[in-house]
Symmetry: C2
Subunit: 232 residues, 2 copies
């Protein structure tokens, strides 16, 4: 039986590693991305070169199939601007989340992905959610993903499998996983082609890739790189 | 404590009855609708007159608050056009669903609704899902809704309650429920202001409201009306 998968693929380090993981494990792999007027829209532009770079590496079990972009229009930004009531403001401050936070964003992405997987006949849905680095986001938690699998399968009368290969590893281990999956060519592709920086900096090159090096996403990536390097 | 609710409100008979049900039971009720380039977009236009008509009836426990429209852009129609694989075609034919079917549409609506409810501090999310008339749609089933409550609460770290007052009743009983909630004025408002017809017919008036009377939605509404009338 042909094993098929759909990877939630933003073009960043984590989802590139997930795509490599899927190409290593399954026969036919498609990708899905979401346009939602994000600040770092440069990430969306990086998707194609990252896909191309991974395909060039070769030696995968799987072949890389179609890429799907779902345009969410203004829906996420509109919710992000929806006025907060006083009740909620208190809860939000407790959670230390930004005011434009769209709760459950990953639930939306997973539901759209399942709809595409349904129509494309794909069995596995793979995402880079991770408890280790993003424990503040409840929609990245393992319990949430497992509850979503249940809801999606009941709601679509299917047997999808949601897989999150990065759930229990940190950023250093994500680099190590990439080396194991695709060797130095995959590490090079991730450094050169994937994007992380919140500010969209694609000009300043570091050992770990491009970025401003001071935003939270760059810090996380750089720290993971240094920790990984120290273990080699 | 002020009891708050958000009603998935399309402007049709079912969601108008749900809105009346929410106004009867809770103190503060807001509504949410979705623009997704639907064929019967006239339903969206009916939403405001239906809200106004229900507010005019008066005597409710609750006050009618904000209306939220989430514009899903092209996302649903794009998924509806996504090519079907052979595997899926077989499953779809088995399910007797149209080729442009967007699986899990109600899961998306519920997730968007929960995101808005989160930001507005609303506790209960009310939808007109019903197993009785739409058993072909797995995203309307009670098991699905209960699994979604679990997934949404885990994914947003909240305690939302999803309520589906029409889950176990048929269209005749929905008319009876409306009479119980708002008397003849509510029945009149539903007849005059709500929309059902798939073809968007708003000119041909029947005892049960406007519509072509032959599309599946009109048939369902007319049959429910006749069955209800026969019990009075």
């Amino acid at each position: 039986m042909t094993e098929t998968a759909l990877v939630l693929f933003s073009g960043g380090q984590d989802s590139a590693t997930c795509l490599a993981w899927a190409l290593h494990h399954y026969d036919h792999v498609e990708t899905i991305g979401f346009a939602y007027r994000q600040r770092h829209a440069i990430e969306l532009e990086c998707r194609i070169p990252v896909r191309d770079a991974l395909a060039r590496i070769g030696g995968w079990r799987g072949t890389l199939g179609a890429d799907h972009i779902v345009d969410l229009g203004s829906s996420l930004s509109a919710i992000g601007q929806t006025a907060l009531t006083e009740d909620v403001l208190i809860a939000m401050n407790g959670d230390d989340l930004p005011n434009t936070f769209v709760p459950g964003r990953n639930l939306l992405f997973l539901t759209y992905a399942a709809a595409v997987a349904y129509r494309r006949g794909l069995k596995r849905i793979i995402g880079g959610m991770c408890e280790t680095d993003f424990s503040g986001y409840p929609d990245c938690r393992d319990d949430t993903i497992k509850a979503m699998q249940l809801a999606l399968n009941l709601g679509m009368n299917q047997r999808f499998v949601l897989e999150t290969p990065l759930m229990w590893i940190d950023k250093a281990q994500t680099w190590a996983m990439a080396l194991g999956l695709g060797g130095q060519p995959l590490i090079d592709a991730i450094i050169e082609e994937t994007h992380t920086c919140y500010l969209g900096d694609r000009t300043t090159r570091h050992a770990w890739g491009y970025g401003c090096s001071t935003c939270p996403a760059c810090e996380l990536r750089a720290n993971g790189w240094r920790k990984w390097q120290s273990t080699l």
